[in-house]
Amino acid sequence: MVDQLPQALVLTAIVIGLASTALLVAIAMRIYEKYGTFDITKIRELKG
């Protein structure tokens, strides 16, 4: 018999991953509108 719990957990983790990725893509699109590029060597106005 298989352990059913990991299936439920993986599904949850996938949903969370989808939410994070969707947000990241949305932010990346807005970054392209502002900076006009996806080149990470040009998107570095903050110094960290």
């Binding site: 719990l5 969370i16 990241l24 106005e45």
Partner: protein, 499 residues
């Protein structure tokens, strides 16, 4: 169990508020403000009630009446109660402040929805007794905070949010991997059950590997020094109430609370982990403060100070002695108050002057008396000037370090405190006193809700030291300290409640 039914309310009430605002907030303009403040006030009152509920030991709530270890359980003990009060007190003050401050942004209802989602996530992290449930709440709070950092949607906000989101997601993946390894090793996710099984199996390489993953993942959430690069960008870019929320409570509930809970109560604190935590703490303390003193952007300076103060907390907790843990937790409480107050002050200056550059300010004390007085209180607290609250907690941490024979760490703690004082004298001189660089004719004091919120936080900062009076310490700080001191006995305490 009497009273156990209020435990899930900490998540449910916040979620209900968030979804109410999301559904009707767009149509009814005045509703988000009222609901935001009302929900956080309810949560704060509920969190104060928890003090009375745990007089006879911790309370466990089983979600869906599935008894642990099978179902998800929610555990309310001394440490959870302490963290709930801290988080909800700060959240309430910030919700009141946002009523005026967020006027300059469009779509206030989106702000309040995300804000309450973040509060729900943090409360969930604090009360959950299940490791996977903990991860889910951690992600709810984190995803809401990425969106809030990007809330201004200008160049810098977006860049900072992207950086924060990428780094924090990597951190979350390490935490998830750690949880997966623990599950495959112990075949349970309930924290108390896992503690028992881990104790039976003894120390293995798996626990060592998992410890490293949790230090990386949770250290990133708490912004300890090798993992801190996102913080000085993300905190200044967010709107001021959110900076206050992130610096004040998010890095503590997701980072420090989770580190304590997992290392003290689940895995068990070994001397190696303890020295790693102390070293990382001292490193953050010193590196953070040296980076802070050279900054001219007010919010960036405050963000670097957050790293430094987090170092103090981790140093105190890492010592593992009763006094060290007490000092660390007390500093956690104090830091969440004065750092959120400082960020709210910087927001007030930005609201009135439209700048965060210290070199363009000057003589604001004459125009903004409330902001300048509250900022003075908070600066004194963070720099450790008696009788403000920060002095007492730093004193306890330094005494604990000396008592444990760690003279080197005690020295670095004193040094970092002196440099903190210097950098806040710089803030006071350039921002509030000294000569004005600009025409101050149009500068006005901020509106009343912002004033109320700042004054109440300043009052708590000023009288925070009374929490050390034995009668108050017993119910608030000592109980939280006892939970961590009990270590892996946590499991038998929790199972004692269930059976």
């Amino acid at each position: 169990m009497p009273g156990a039914n209020i435990i899930p309310l900490f998540v449910a009430v916040a979620l209900a508020g968030a979804f109410t605002i999301a559904i009707v907030g767009k149509k009814i303009k005045w509703l988000p403000d009222i609901v935001g403040s009302f929900i956080t006030l309810v949560l704060f009152i509920l969190s104060l009630l928890t003090i009375g509920m745990i007089n006879n030991g911790p309370i466990v709530y089983s979600v869906g009446f599935w008894r642990p270890p099978i179902g998800i359980s929610m555990v309310l003990d001394g440490l959870s109660s302490f963290m709930l009060i801290t988080v909800n007190l700060v959240a309430f003050a910030i919700a009141v402040y946002s009523i005026n401050y967020m006027k300059k942004f469009t779509s206030k209802w989106k702000f309040y929805t995300l804000f309450l989602l973040m509060v729900a996530g943090m409360n969930g992290v604090i009360i959950t007794g299940d490791l996977f449930n903990f991860f889910v709440f951690l992600e709810i709070a984190s995803v809401a905070s990425y969106a809030l950092v990007a809330f201004g949607t200008e160049r810098h906000e977006l860049e900072a949010a992207f950086k924060y989101a990428v780094m924090s997601t990597v951190g979350s993946l390490f935490i998830l991997l750690g949880i997966v390894f623990l599950y495959s090793f112990t075949s349970t996710l309930n924290m108390a059950d896992m503690t028992m099984i881990l104790a039976q199996k003894g120390a293995t390489n798996i626990t060592l590997m998992v410890s490293v993953m949790f230090i990386m993942g949770l250290g990133l959430k708490a912004a300890l020094v090798p993992f801190h690069a996102w913080l000085p960008d993300a905190h200044p870019s967010a709107p001021a109430p959110i900076s206050a929320m992130l610096s004040g409570v998010l890095i503590k509930s997701l980072g420090i609370y989770a580190l304590c809970r997992i290392f003290y109560n689940v895995i068990g604190l070994s001397p190696n982990i303890s020295s790693i935590l102390m070293f990382l703490g001292a490193l953050s303390m010193v590196v953070g403060v040296f980076l802070a003193i050279g900054q001219w952007d007010l919010k960036r300076l405050l963000a670097y100070h957050s790293i430094s103060q987090i170092g103090y907390i981790i140093l105190g907790l890492g010592l593992g002695t009763p006094l060290g843990i007490l000092g660390g937790l007390f500093h956690l409480f104090n830091h969440s108050l004065f750092k959120s107050l400082l960020f709210l002050n910087s927001g007030a200056i930005e609201y009135s002057m439209g700048t965060r550059d210290l070199q363009q300010m000057g003589n604001l004390a004459s125009k903004m008396p409330v902001t300048s007085t509250t900022n003075l209180t908070a600066s004194m607290s963070i720099a450790g000037v008696p009788p403000f609250n920060g002095f007492w907690s730093k004193l306890i941490i330094i005494v604990a370090a000396v008592e444990a024979g760690r003279f080197g760490y005690a020295f670095w703690a004193v040094l970092a405190s002196v440099i903190t004082l210097a950098s806040f004298m710089k803030v006071m001189k350039y921002a509030f006193f000294g000569s004005a660089k600009k025409d101050l004719g149009k500068i006005k004091e901020v509106p009343s809700f912002m004033k109320i919120s700042m004054i109440s936080l300043a009052l708590v900062c000023a009288i925070g030291g009374i929490l050390l009076i034995p009668a108050l310490r017993e119910v608030f700080l000592q109980r939280a300290t006892d939970v961590l001191l009990a270590g892996t006995k946590y499991a038998s305490v929790i199972f004692g409640v269930i059976r």
